[in-house]
């Protein structure tokens, strides 16, 4: 069984901060006027219908 000690909170924060440094640069590319459809996560199938619709 592996060591049951969780990582200290500061280590988790450091890992997330490192990810943010890359990610925040990408997020700057997003213009506020971009179409709202970018948030919906259909990925490729754009003609989804609810069952029975």
């Amino acid at each position: 069984v592996e060591d049951k000690q969780p990582l200290p909170e500061s280590e988790n924060a450091r890992i997330v901060q490192a990810l943010r440094e890359t990610f925040n640069l990408l997020a700057l590319r997003l213009a506020p006027e971009m179409e709202p459809a970018t948030i919906f996560v259909a990925v490729h199938d754009t003609d989804q219908e609810e069952p029975g619709a």
Binding site: T22, F23, R29, L30
Partner: protein, 451 residues
Amino acid sequence: VTIRELGELLRRRKISCAELVEKTLSDIRKQEHLHAFITVTEEQARSEAAERDRELAQGLDRGPLHGIPIAFKDLFYTRGVRTTAGSLVFRDFIPDYQATCVSRLRLAGAVSIGKTNLHEIAYGITSKNPHYGFVLNPRDPARLPGGSSGGSGAAVAAGIVPLALGTDTGGSIRIPASYCGVTGLKPTYGRVSRYGILPLAFSLDHAGPLGASVEDCALAMNAIGGPDPFDTSCSQIPAPDFNPPAPRDLRGVRIGRPENFFFEHLDAEVASCVDRAIAELERSGARIIPIRLPDLNEVNAVARVIQLAEAASVYIRHTDPQLFGPDVWALLEQGRMIAGHEYVSAQRLRTLFCREFDRVWRTVDLLAAPTTPVAAPLKDAAVVRIGSQEEDVRMASTRLVRPINCLGLPAISLPCGTTSEHLPVGLQLIAAPFEEPNLIAVAKLAEIVLA
């Protein structure tokens, strides 16, 4: 032994379904040290096998999966059978319904033999499960089997079952396929129902097969693929035949060899194996096209933000760190630190990357790349060495597969050779959305020419 070979033995009455189940149960007992299974459903399997034998005797043949023993990652709900997700949280959970994938495979005649071990809650790649045992790699017990579908990969690699289902959120089918030397298919996002599968990250989770051959995976897809009224995230696009014959050659097929990302920071032996495989595909008639891809390091960053946030949401009610291994708890903690605006931005960026990647398919039909940058790491290694650089084992193992989840593309990993230490190397073929038949056809020929 492949499903086709077992099917021939069954139909020629060389072996019965019941005998096949007994052989499988015996193999599980002999290889208990692998910790590939969490639950073995002996009596249920015997009962199902007897029924399949009766049906064959009466002339009722359900098709290629009739009487074939299979296993499910212990993340798939099985009615009346404990489903743990490899976690203490679900140690006593017995679902009262079953996953669509489970229902469909049983309807196709497959005999469920049990539930396979996995990385705890499918959140990791080592399959060193602190609660249900560390899964060993049958190819070399000193090495990781990969994960999170490590028990499924090990069960197939050890020859216990020809087919097992897994899930793939950031590579969890393809990584164990690569490290254990079997074939694993992650379908297009939405191609296979996720009804009755415990989620890890709602918009990145995929279900798919690990098999002893490409055809084994294709036969599984014929059972599980297609729309499901119980899963509204499942595509309405009708299922095609996922099991086309292997083409005689690859004339007219354009295969992209990425100039960036996939061949950077690779173990030299892995690079050499994959390039030899690509050369074989070219000898088979494929046109190999060097291609520059959108920056998949950026896609990886986006995918990690989404996965951290969604997994934290799934497990938001579970606040006791003692219920989780330290690695999993750390990831859940990290997920709780992702801000709402960061998650929204990640999903918007994802849409843009998907659109950008669509352009790739104007130039090529498939991409050929390594599945993992290294062969199976030693089981106690925290880092892998690639050239002069060290890289965290989890980050290295997921680096070449995670972006494909974010883009929702179908991808298959199949063995393409071994290193000097006899460790398998995985070739990853990636196709456009919903192009699984073409992907599988090319993979079948690749399997033949690489054998």
